[in-house]
């Protein structure tokens, strides 16, 4: 059966040749069109991303151990990633090119290039509750999907990394006062994405907050603007991005959680874990990690790329 990822794979195959061309065309397009519909930085970084893949390392043949997961992936010629199509800045499908763009997506492509020699990735769109099952039954090779490392999860899956540290923050409609820290949300109506880590996090800091959930980020933003809640709790970088494109939105304070994201792997696959950690170290040393950050989250967050978290520094990794 042709399902969505297969479709996008077909599309991607057709587009591989034309990718660089169409991307630069798009950059030109957004430069002259100036349409507010095009998200900030959607054009220019694409060519940079293509460069990042050109410079990305490929593993030495000796590192692809016989009988390992890496060898299986290499023989297949494609890395199967559990991820999203609708996570802006991290893993968001660009409807114009069919490509999936963002920090997670770029790291996935670089890992594919490291193993296979080409950045060939198939994304299996996965609900967050099913990731452990997808890894354990081998539907996907790795998971790049804001997968927070916790000791409980580490009993079911292996984590390489952490490769990024993020945190939840609070946004309000511009002009709203009285909310300066997450504890101020107690007793108020708070908007959060359905099935996101924001829900338990809000319950923790503001047990009496009433949580209203919506299916996607733009829905939550719209709901906030329409006053369906006083605040919106979401990953900070996403909120900053929203604030950039929408002057009605204001991010309050600093992130109140620390979420170390890991690369999900099959439980007890130590070979693969060592291999992926080795790759992560390499792209960090080569400045490619930083470049991927600049091309995605860096388009909305000011300043230089942060220092990547130390590999293996979190319980469960």
């Amino acid at each position: 059966m042709v399902h969505a990822p297969a479709l996008s794979r077909m599309r991607r195959a057709a587009l591989t040749v034309a990718a660089v061309v169409s991307m630069s065309a798009m950059a030109a397009c957004s430069a002259e069109g100036g349409s507010p519909a095009v998200p900030p930085g959607a054009g220019a970084p694409e060519t940079a991303a293509a460069d990042a893949f050109a410079n990305a390392p490929v593993a030495a043949a000796s590192e692809i151990l016989p009988g390992s997961t890496m060898e299986k992936i290499k023989q297949r010629g494609e890395l199967i990633v559990g991820g999203s199509l609708d996570a802006p800045l991290l893993s968001q499908q660009n409807p114009v090119t069919g490509q999936v763009e963002g920090f997670d997506a770029d790291l996935g492509k670089m890992l594919a290039k490291y193993i296979i020699g080409r950045p060939k990735v198939k994304i299996v769109n996965s609900a967050s509750e099913t990731r452990e099952a997808l890894l354990s039954n081998g539907t996907v090779d790795v998971v790049f999907q804001t997968y927070t490392i916790t000791p409980e999860r580490a009993e079911q899956v292996a984590f390489a990394g952490p490769y990024y540290t993020s945190g939840l923050a609070v946004a309000v409609k511009k002009g709203i006062t009285g909310i300066t820290k997450p504890e101020d949300l107690d007793g108020k109506t708070v908007i959060a994405g359905a099935n996101t880590p924001a829900i338990p996090a809000i319950k923790k800091v503001a047990p009496n907050a009433e949580i209203v959930t919506f299916g996607s980020d733009p829905e939550c933003v719209q709901a906030l603007k329409q006053g369906r809640g006083v605040a919106y709790v979401q990953d900070q970088s996403l909120l900053v991005a929203n604030g950039k494109s929408d002057p009605d939105l204001q991010v309050v304070g600093e992130p109140f959680t620390t979420d170390p994201y890991g690369i999900g792997l099959k439980h007890a696959d130590d070979q693969m874990k060592t291999f992926v950690n080795g790759w992560l170290k390499k792209i960090q040393d080569a400045g490619l990690w930083q470049q991927a950050w600049k091309n995605s989250i860096g388009t909305v967050v000011q300043g230089e790329a942060p220092a990547p978290p130390a590999i293996g520094s979190v319980p469960g990794s």
């Binding site: 509750e129 829900i199 299916g215 719209q222 709901a223 329409q226």
Partner: protein, 214 residues
Amino acid sequence: MDALSGNLPALWDGLVVTLRLTLLALAGAFAIGAVVATARVSPVPVLRAAGTVYVETLQNIPLLVLLILAVFGLPEIGVQAGLFTTAVVVIALYQAAYVAEALRSGINSVAAGQGEAARALGLTFTASLRHVVLPQALATVVQPLGNIVIMLTMNTSLAAAVGVVELTAAANRVNLIEAQPIPIFVGAGVAYMLLASVAGYVTGVLERRLAIVR
């Protein structure tokens, strides 16, 4: 089963919201449906056309899409209402199209002679509809209307997608915390079945009451 019993308050609240959604939307759907059905059989061409457009539009767009559009679109045309209210109104409008169709086919099932006889007696359009045609139509539409009641009950679960914490959303939330999907979802399923069987029972009783013995 602990996951179920430990979270009964949350699930109970969800069930109450589902019940309120169902009853309010049902009242709305029947009222609007009756109006639309009348429009569709009325002597006024514009009303007939409007009725047709109404039914065609609402039956051919998924309820989920209508809900999302209403929740996020209505405030943009200056109609600001709560999530629950919006959900009630949208579900009522959506199901009204089905109620109207059921009523219309009921009216059509009444023998032609009945309408002619009513007119021959000098009854007006509304009077012949009310005193002659509808009472007979009602007997044949009880079953389809009962099915619409069940359908509406099931459809209230879609309000979960626009932030209304009804039974399905409550079950989903409890599952996010407890990670015990089987007892929680089975529990919610049983609750829906109970609601539906009440509807089925009432339908059965009504059908027997309204049956016309010839």
